[in-house]
Symmetry: C2
DNA sequence: CGAGCCGTTGAGGGGATTCAAGCTCAGTGG
DNA sequence: CCACTGAGCTTGAATCCCCTCAACGGCTCG
């Protein structure tokens, strides 16, 4: 986990304009601030890289920062009382991670990088200060919260319902939302698919193989898939039509 | 759905001090306001009653109000693309319903009363105005959002995981949280249990009957249960211990 | 009293799990 | 260079849980 401070004092510094020109600025929490607002905060924000399968934080931990995802995919996990893992949500580019620390609460989930992940680390105190004056910032925060809630409910309705094949297909659709231009995206390990969809690794494997044979997807390397969206969407529709 | 305005101008009016003395005030969104703050808003807040199985609002509808639950249980539903209903969350006393309208968004779910429900109806514009000055109110709002998010994820981890018997047991535990003093609480119809736990009404019925025979619960009237918590919690533990 | 809804229970079949055996492939060290 | 190893993936066979289909009983209500 490497941390790089983002300097902006010296505008000629190569990283000087990182925040202002950040590609995800429009998606990120500080998108509502003008350049002057950014000037007040840039020095406190750090850029971070997290390697696949590395944890960002753990449930119960009392953190002092929230994060914005610049690139990559992060998963939120919980351990059920039976002792097995359940993945309850994914976050991608532009999503806010760990807003509960702004309320001085411990993190609600384990957060783990799925792919290589780039983050902006935002100290809690920074948001506390800004929140005094900037109502717009608070509104933006509420937007994020609502989006997360919506994602959670959609996950429940889409990925926790119906037979295994249907759940896998819907997961693929959701993974497709994080794909790059060519439809190439991250494919979880079979065990992770199992923890997302509440099924065994064998069932997950059988279904992925079956969909590969049907031409819905193509495995690319160890952790990659190329989704053939036409075939995928058709398969989903066929599944939903009874 | 009956609506009763809450007056406070005339302190001798029987409903005059409803807001100030409201039993759920500490749980509700305006708990952070002092009496002076309450004075500015009470005239705009209406008390509402909703009968069981009556809708509060529908997904996609552009509402102009949020609600606080004073008593009763409300469920949030979605219709999956396959066309069947999925209940994604419950809300009880003190919970905030429909905060997405504060962001000028349509309601995210269908909301339906499970039991008889008492609500406070709070117009969006009121929160908008207050939000300008009262940062404390915005913070309180964020608390609600985070709680809802946490509930949604807990629902996923608890009620969408594992074999049917386990899911029913955990649902009973969750329903027990909304119970009155004597352990008497609302029991969903078999069909509703099915929509919560993704199982058929037959499976739900079999398991409820089985638990009744085991002495975990007692049916009381059409929609009531008395939970025997000791036996229930023991059954849950036995389930989790493999 | 019949109609309709809701809940219960049974029998049979199907889909997912369990148990088990190979397979692929990257990394390691002889 | 290549066997060796282990983790992850695949596939098969048997079992079991849950769904499907079906019949029936209790209850309310017109």
């Amino acid at each position: 986990m490497s941390i790089v401070p983002i300097y902006r004092q010296d505008l000629r510094h190569p990283q000087a304009q990182v925040c202002a020109s950040c590609g995800v600025r429009q998606f990120a929490i500080f998108g509502v601030l003008d350049d002057a607002g950014l000037d007040r905060i840039h020095a406190h924000i750090a850029s971070m890289d997290v390697a696949p399968d590395r944890p960002l934080f753990s449930r119960g931990e009392r953190g002092a920062a929230v994060y914005t995802v610049r690139s990559g995919v992060v998963r939120f996990e919980r351990v059920t009382e039976r002792g097995d893992r359940r993945i309850v949500r994914l976050a991608g580019r532009g999503d806010l991670i760990g807003p509960e620390v702004l309320l001085h609460r411990p993190y609600a989930d384990d957060a783990v990088a799925c792919t290589a992940v780039q983050l902006c680390r935002i100290p809690r105190t920074l948001v506390d200060e800004l929140g005094q004056g900037e109502t717009a910032l608070l509104r933006e925060l509420m937007q994020r919260w609502q989006r997360a809630l919506d994602d959670a409910e959609a996950w429940l309705a889409d990925l926790a319902t119906g037979p295994a094949r249907r759940r896998v297909l819907r997961l693929l659709v959701k993974l497709g939302e994080h794909a790059d231009g060519s439809g190439l995206t991250w494919l979880p390990r079979r065990e992770e698919i199992g923890d997302m969809l509440d099924m065994t690794i064998e069932t997950a494997s059988r279904l992925i193989s079956q969909l590969r044979r049907e031409g819905v997807l193509e495995l690319v390397g160890a952790r990659g898939v190329r989704l053939h969206m036409a075939a995928l969407l058709q398969a989903v529709r066929r599944e939903d039509a009874l």
